[in-house]
């Protein structure tokens, strides 16, 4: 039988799903052990149990100076920035996507501009962003917006353009104005795609958040990672990285489920 037609049964499937994770853990454990055997106070690859201890400590013990549990404070600060940045981008992209996709005038004006702007590497223009938006919370949110908005606009306006012309014409024959077409025909069909696009841009959004927090911040997950890099506390860094990965994964999952729940008229995509 061809490999293409061979399906693992449910038990084997479970094993296979776990396999790469297990291998990764094993590889890490071995590497860590080898390094620790050479230098017991090596900080680069702490043992798994050490990471576990550190994680427990970070999650439960308050900081000596501030008497707060920094882990949760960092998480809170980062999540607020991330959600603000992504939320603002999504809202702007929806409006601009609709305008660009529906109105030939706006399309002529902005489509090319957005295409060029989307090529500017945001990290390179950071100083300008700082000057314009200051170093506070605003600039971190703005960096996320600058980072993901062009992609979102391009994706969403392409989707609006993909709405079958027939459907728009149908709405016109029912007397819909441009505004009603945007609001009642295009927007509802854009929303599932918006969630898709937001899912795709969550990765970059985290990236820009971490970059912004690395540059100027008092708290946040990215801040902590770059701060403890100064004394190579890999146990802390790895705890934070695993936590960020988990958060990102959960957000992705939530958005997927949300899309299935909110838009029963569309099929879920992978």
């Amino acid at each position: 039988m061809r490999l293409i037609n061979r399906n693992p049964d449910i038990v084997l499937r479970t094993v296979l799903v776990a396999l790469p994770f297990a291998l990764l853990l094993l590889a890490y454990a071995l590497g860590s052990e080898a390094r620790l055997a050479e230098n017991p106070s090596d900080k680069l690859m702490p043992s798994l149990s050490k990471i576990g201890e550190t994680a427990q400590r970070l999650l439960t013990e308050p900081d000596r100076r501030s008497e707060r549990i920094l882990f949760w404070h960092d998480t809170g600060a980062s999540l607020i920035r991330l959600l603000l940045g992504v939320g603002i981008s999504a809202a702007l992209a929806t409006i601009l996507g609709l305008l660009i996709g529906l109105l030939p005038y706006v399309r002529a004006t902005l489509a090319g501009f957005v295409a060029v702007i989307s090529m500017i590497p945001p990290l390179a223009v950071l100083p300008i962003l700082f000057i314009v938006f200051g170093l506070g919370e605003l600039s971190k949110v703005v960096l996320i917006v600058v980072g993901i908005l062009p992609f979102l606009i391009r994706d969403l306006s392409a989707r609006v353009l993909e709405i079958p012309r027939e459907m728009i014409v149908k709405a016109e024959t029912l007397g819909a104005s441009t505004f009603v077409i945007a609001l009642r025909v295009a927007l509802p069909q854009l929303l599932p795609r918006l969630i898709q696009a937001v899912r795709l841009s969550l990765g970059p959004a985290w990236l820009f958040l971490i970059a912004a927090e690395a540059i100027a911040a008092e708290q946040g997950l990215g801040y902590r990672i770059f701060l403890v890099r100064r004394f190579l506390a890999m146990d802390v860094i790895l705890t934070y990285v695993i936590w960020i990965t988990l958060l990102a994964f959960l957000m992705d999952l939530t958005l997927r489920k949300l899309s299935q729940r909110l838009f029963p008229w569309t099929q879920a995509t992978l």
Binding site: R57, F130, I131, G134, L135, R229, R230
Partner: protein, 328 residues
């Protein structure tokens, strides 16, 4: 174990520019050849990354300050020796505010700096001197050195602590006032070339070649060789005048004898104890550290501070002495 190929890392800073010149000019190769070894000098843009790489074993030596050597490699169990004591900061690091004021006026203000760096230490010492604590500040904002100038130009930032060449750039702004600098705590922020102790012990030739090459360039600099200084200035992104200005606030040890004398002075152990306490206070020595004395530091005369059973940081004047004696 003996070997012939060595790699050291350095990053751009006034007192370390000679390392780049050593590589470019071929002086390092000349001395390495003399001792039948090969030394590669690699420039790393990110200072912290260069120390991390050294700590992870990617390099045999790295340019670092006394404080960072104690916290990263020594704290991380990599036995490290200060092979060359190059200079100490004598004004290169500074606390700067917008508008007028003095150290006491920092209370209640946010301060931007690279957290846990020598800037942080300088600030702590400065606040100490007027009886303030870090908790009296509004906040300490960790700000990347690459963006410090841009940060100072934004309205939210009221005070920064940073180092040269950023200090001179920021002071060009007429509204900037310097409150405190490293010349107020001379000899406490020391720029070193540190190397792996095991490697050095197994390969004395490595130490000899490094010291020989370094002091050859020191000689050229002391003599005011414009060509050498210009090369260094341009490599650091400024011009001759700018570089000279930076050198003015740096106490370079042009002769090995000066360096040996400084290293052997009784002030050094006091400084290191101060630094260790600062690091412990900030939690940098790691949660494995039960006290500020967790890591032992050995001095040229064999005395130690900290835990004598866990010596990970050694000041060793052997090779500088050889240079002073002309024995290389």
């Amino acid at each position: 174990q003996e070997k012939t190929d060595f790699r050291i890392a350095w990053s751009i800073y006034v007192g370390w520019m000679p390392w780049g010149y050593l590589e470019d000019s071929g002086i390092m190769d000349k001395w390495a050849e003399k001792y039948d070894i090969d030394v590669e000098i690699v420039q790393i843009n990110d200072y912290v990354e260069s120390i991390n790489q050294y700590t992870a074993g990617a390099f045999d030596g790295v340019s670092a300050t006394n404080m960072d050597t104690l916290s990263i490699p020594a704290g991380g169990g990599v036995d490290t020796t200060a092979l060359i004591v190059g200079d100490f900061s004598n004004g290169n690091d500074a606390v700067i505010v917008k508008g007028d004021g003095d150290l006491a006026s920092l209370a209640g203000k946010p301060v931007s700096l690279v957290e846990l760096s020598v800037s942080h230490y300088l600030l702590a010492r400065g606040l100490d001197s007027v009886g303030l604590k870090e908790s009296d500040l509004a906040s300490v904002i960790n700000t990347s050195d690459a963006d410090m100038i841009a940060a100072f130009a934004t309205p939210d930032v009221e005070a920064v602590v940073t180092w040269n060449p950023l200090v001179s750039s920021i002071l060009e702004d007429p509204s900037a006032t310097k409150l405190f600098d490293s010349s107020d705590i001379p000899g406490e922020i020391i720029d070193l070339m540190v190397v792996n102790t095991e490697v050095l012990e197994a390969n004395p030739n490595f130490g000899k070649a490094m010291a020989g090459a370094w002091y050859e360039v020191m000689g050229l600099m002391a003599a005011g060789d414009e060509e050498v200084l210009t090369a260094m200035a341009e490599a650091s992104g400024t011009d001759l005048a700018g570089y000279k200005a930076q050198l003015d606030s740096t106490e370079m040890f042009y002769t090995p004898a000066d360096a040996v004398e400084f290293t052997q002075s009784s002030a050094l152990p006091d400084t290191m104890v101060n630094v260790a306490e600062f690091l412990f206070d900030k939690g940098i020595l790691g949660e494995g550290a039960p006290s500020a004395d967790f890591v032992g530091i050995e001095y040229p005369d064999g005395s130690t501070t900290g835990d004598a059973g866990n010596v990970q940081f050694r000041f060793d004047t052997t090779y500088m002495q050889m240079a002073a004696d002309g024995a290389l």
